[in-house]
Symmetry: C2
Subunit: 462 residues, 2 copies
C-alpha cells in the first residue's frame, strides 16, 4: 500500500506556469493614485526590474533558472501522500491526496517564492531585502532564502506577534536576518504611528509601510522590498506545487481529479496548487476548485471585487481584488496567515470568472479537522492549512452521501509546530468561533463608489 509518491530530481518542473496567459478575460492593471495604470518604471524603486517583468508578463511558461532549481531541490520535489488513514476514519469512498509543503526547512510553501525573489534581487545587484511579516511564516522563509544567497534581510514583524511569538524571531535570527518589532523608530511611518499611539500592537498595514519606506529611502539603491503573497509573480513561483502534484498523480495512474482544495490568505498557496489544474479546467476538464478562508475574514465569500489598496496606509497601488477594505482588522484567529483584507488579483479573477468556488469555514471546525488529521495521518498542520483539511472532510462526507469515489487533492501548506498555542486553546475549550457581520466590514465596501471599478466581468468562455 503506497502512501507516498516521490518524484526524482529530473522530474522537477523546469518552468513556472503563468495563468495570466490563459484567463478568459485579461487581468486588469494596478492603478496609481491618479486612477491611471501603474507603469513598470513606477515600481522600480520598490522591486528589481527582473521581478517587475515577471509581474506584468503574459507568457504562459517562464523558465526557472538552474540556480533556483538547485536550491529548491534541497527539499523539492515534495511528497504527495495518499491519506488512507484519514479516508478510513471518515469511512469515505473518496480518494484523498495531499501535497506536503511542510517538508521545507522553514516548514511551509513560502520558500518557493522566497528563494526565487532573493535570487532575482541578487541577479539585479541588490544587497538587502526588506519585508514585513505577521505570524512569521513569510519572514522566516525570506530569512532562510537570503541566508542561502548571501543577502541581508530586514523583517518588520507586527509588534503583537513579535512579543507573542518570540520563537519566530529567533528562527529568523538564526538564518541571519534582522527582525524588529513594527512600528519601529527607524522609519517615518513607524515614528508617526508611535507618536500618536505609543502602545499600538502594530498591524500588517503599518509593517508594509515601514518595509517599503526602508527600501525606497535607502540612498545606496541596493535595497528592495519583497512581498510573500498577493502579487502575480508570487503566484507564478508557487505553481511548481501544482505541476509536481499533476506529475505525481500521473505517475501512479490517477487520471482524473475531481476536486482541488487549498486555503487562501493572500492567495499564493492556493494559486500554487490550483492554477496548473485550472489550466486543464479552462481547457474543458471537469474539476471543482475550492478556495477556503476563515469565516472571520471572508474576503472571497463576502468582500466585493473592487480596486483597493494592499495596505492600510494606502502606500501600495490600487489592485483589482476581492477586499473587505484596506482598514479592515480581522478578529484574532490563530490562522494569522489568513488574516488579510484582500485577495490576490489573479485568484480574485478566477473567482469572478467562476473557475474557483470560495468557501468560508469557522476556526473550531478547522481545529477539529486538524486534530483528526494529526491523529490519522501523523502530521500536525498549520492553522492556515486546517482550513483546507476541513473543506476536504466536508467534500469526503459529501462523497459518502453520494456514494461516489471522487478524487480529492488538497494542499498541506505547512506544519503547525511553530503555532501550537491554537491547539492548546482548542483542547482547553477556549477557542472562539467568529462570524463576520456585514456591519463590521471596512471602508472598501463603504468607499466602493469612490474607487475605480475593475472592467473585467465573467466572460463565460469556458
Amino acid at each position: 500500500m503506497q502512501t507516498k509518491v516521490f518524484l526524482n530530481e529530473d522530474e522537477m518542473p523546469r518552468q513556472w506556469y503563468n495563468i495570466a496567459a490563459d484567463l478568459p478575460s485579461p487581468l486588469q492593471p494596478p492603478l496609481g493614485p491618479d486612477g491611471n495604470p501603474i507603469t513598470p518604471d513606477m515600481l522600480a524603486p520598490v522591486f528589481p526590474m527582473n521581478i517587475i517583468e515577471q509581474e506584468v508578463s503574459t507568457e504562459r511558461w517562464i523558465d526557472i533558472p538552474q540556480e533556483i532549481l538547485a536550491i529548491l531541490h534541497k527539499w523539492r520535489p515534495t511528497p504527495l501522500h495518499r491519506a488512507y488513514a484519514l479516508e478510513k476514519a471518515l469511512g469515505t469512498p473518496a480518494k484523498i491526496y495531499y501535497k506536503n509543503e511542510s517538508v521545507s526547512p522553514p516548514g511551509s510553501h513560502k520558500p518557493n517564492t522566497a528563494v526565487a525573489q532573493a535570487w532575482y534581487n541578487k541577479q539585479f545587484g541588490i544587497k538587502r531585502i526588506t519585508t514585513e511579516t505577521g505570524a512569521g511564516q513569510w519572514g522566516s522563509a525570506l530569512a532562510f532564502a537570503c541566508s542561502l544567497l548571501g543577502l541581508e534581510c530586514k523583517v518588520y514583524m507586527v509588534r503583537i506577534s513579535f512579543d507573542q511569538k518570540p520563537f519566530r524571531k529567533i528562527m529568523m535570527q538564526t538564518w541571519g536576518a534582522n527582525c524588529i518589532a513594527s512600528p519601529s523608530t527607524e522609519t517615518n511611518a513607524g515614528r508617526n504611528i508611535l507618536e500618536k499611539y505609543p502602545d499600538t500592537p502594530g498591524s500588517l498595514g503599518i509593517a508594509i509601510s515601514e518595509a517599503i519606506e526602508a527600501a525606497v529611502t535607502d540612498k545606496s539603491g541596493q535595497t528592495r522590498y519583497a512581498l510573500g503573497s498577493v502579487l502575480n509573480h508570487v503566484m507564478l513561483h508557487q505553481t511548481i506545487i501544482g505541476q509536481e502534484t499533476k506529475k505525481q498523480l500521473a505517475k501512479i495512474g490517477e487520471k482524473k481529479v475531481d476536486i482541488v482544495i487549498g486555503c487562501a490568505g493572500g492567495g499564493s498557496n492556493f494559486a500554487g496548487l490550483s492554477f496548473p489544474f485550472l489550466s486543464d479546467k479552462i481547457n474543458g476538464a471537469n474539476i471543482e476548485v475550492i478556495a477556503v478562508e476563515p469565516t472571520s475574514c471572508p474576503t472571497m465569500t463576502k468582500g466585493p471585487f473592487v480596486y483597493d489598496h494592499g495596505d492600510t496606509a494606502k502606500m501600495t497601488p490600487l489592485l483589482p481584488m476581492h477586499s473587505l477594505g484596506h482598514d479592515f482588522i480581522p478578529p484574532p484567529i490563530h490562522a494569522g496567515g489568513l488574516r488579510y483584507h484582500g485577495m490576490a488579483p489573479l485568484v480574485s479573477q478566477t473567482i469572478v470568472e467562476g473557475l474557483v468556488t470560495p468557501r468560508a469555514i469557522g476556526q473550531i471546525e478547522c481545529y477539529e479537522a486538524a486534530v483528526l488529521f494529526a491523529r490519522t495521518e501523523g502530521i500536525i498542520p498549520a492553522p492556515e492549512t486546517s482550513h483546507a483539511i476541513a473543506a476536504t472532510i466536508q467534500e469526503a462526507k459529501k462523497a459518502s452521501e453520494e456514494g461516489k469515489e471522487k478524487v480529492i487533492v488538497f494542499g498541506l501548506s505547512g506544519h503547525g509546530l511553530m503555532d501550537l498555542s491554537g491547539y492548546d486553546s482548542f483542547f482547553q475549550g477556549k477557542l472562539v468561533h467568529y462570524e463576520l457581520p456585514e456591519s463590521e466590514m471596512g471602508s472598501a465596501i463603504h468607499e466602493l463608489d469612490n474607487l475605480p471599478k475593475p472592467k473585467m466581468v465573467k466572460s463565460g468562455k469556458w
Copy 2:
C-alpha cells in the same frame, strides 16, 4: 549539482541489522539485583515478549514487518544531502554528506523505533504504553506512533521540562497522548518523592521509575513500558538510517567513506547511522567512526565501563556500559537528549573494542557550528545534532590541513524548531561552557568496587 539523494520505496531496507551478531566479543547480559543474569521472563511485566526476543537476539538480520514499513514510508527513505554550501564556507577539500532524519513528522530519528515498538506491543495485545521523556523528543515520537496505531500513550515528562517547554506537551496532546508532569501523585514512586521534596524539578530517573511502575502495576495486564534509547532493540530499529545512507552513497557512486559521525546521548541515533558502517569496519574497511557527546556529560570519554543502573532509583537491571553513575545530574545544557549518565551497552562495547572513537565538545562550539550550518545548508539543527556538526567541522578542517579529499558522513538527527531558546541564549551571549571536573562524577565511579565487572575486554580481532 545534485544536492540530495533520494531512494524509492522499493529501495527501503527490508531488514534491521543486528550488530550483536558481529561484535568481536559477545555482549554481556544485564544483571539482576542478585548479580545473576536477567532472564527474558523477568522482563515480561515490563516489555512484550516479542520485543524481549529482539532484545536478546544475536541474529544478524531481522525482518521488518510490512506494516511497520508502510508507516515508516510516510517519511522514509529520508534524504541524504551533500553539504556543498557548508564545504564552500569551510574551504575544505572534504566531501560532507548528511542523513536528514529531521523530515519525520515529530522532527527527529525517534519515530523509527517508536513505530516499531508500538506495533510489536499492539501485536502482543497491549492496549496502552507508558514512557518517560526529558526534553520531549522521545515522548512526542511515541505519542505520534501510538496515535497512528490506535494505542493509548501515557508520558511522564520531567517537571522542569514540562513547565519550560509547554509546546512539547501540546504536541503530544495533539497526537492524543496523556502527558503529565513527573513526579506525579499517580504512582508510589512519584508520591514518595513529592512527600519528601514537594518542589522538586523532577529527573529522568524519577520519570522512568513512574513509567515502569505504571506499566507493571496495571492489573489488566494490557499496559507495557517503552524506552527510547539505550536498549539493544532500540539500536536495532534505528539501523534503517545507516543502511539507507549506504545505499544512497552507492547510488551516486561514492565508493569509500572515510569518517562517520553521530551525536550520542543514550546511543540510538549514533548506533542507527554507524552500525551498518561498523559492520564493514569489522570486516576490514578503513573507516573512522566518531561518537560525539557534550563536555558537560562526558559518559564515553570520562565514564568507566561498568555494570550500572539505567535509572537513579535503581529500578532497572544492571547494564554493562560507560557510565558517569546513576545518580549523576548533568549541568543544564540545551541538548537535553544528551543529558544521560549512561550509554547503550552496544555502543559502549564498540568503544571498548576500539571500533568507535568518542569525542566530547562544549556547547558554545556546538552552537557556533549549528548557526554556520543553518546559514549555509538552510536547516536549523536540534541542539543534540549540533554536536555531530561541530565534530564534522573539526574533521573538515583537519582534511584541509592534510589536503585530503575525505568523505565525511554525519547524522542530522533532528531539527531545532522546538528548541530555539538555546539559539536565543547563544545570540545573547548567555551560553555557558561546562567542563566536568572528575570530582563531580557520580556514584558509579565511587561505587565501582561494589558493582560486578563486565567480562568483555577488547579482543583486538579486527
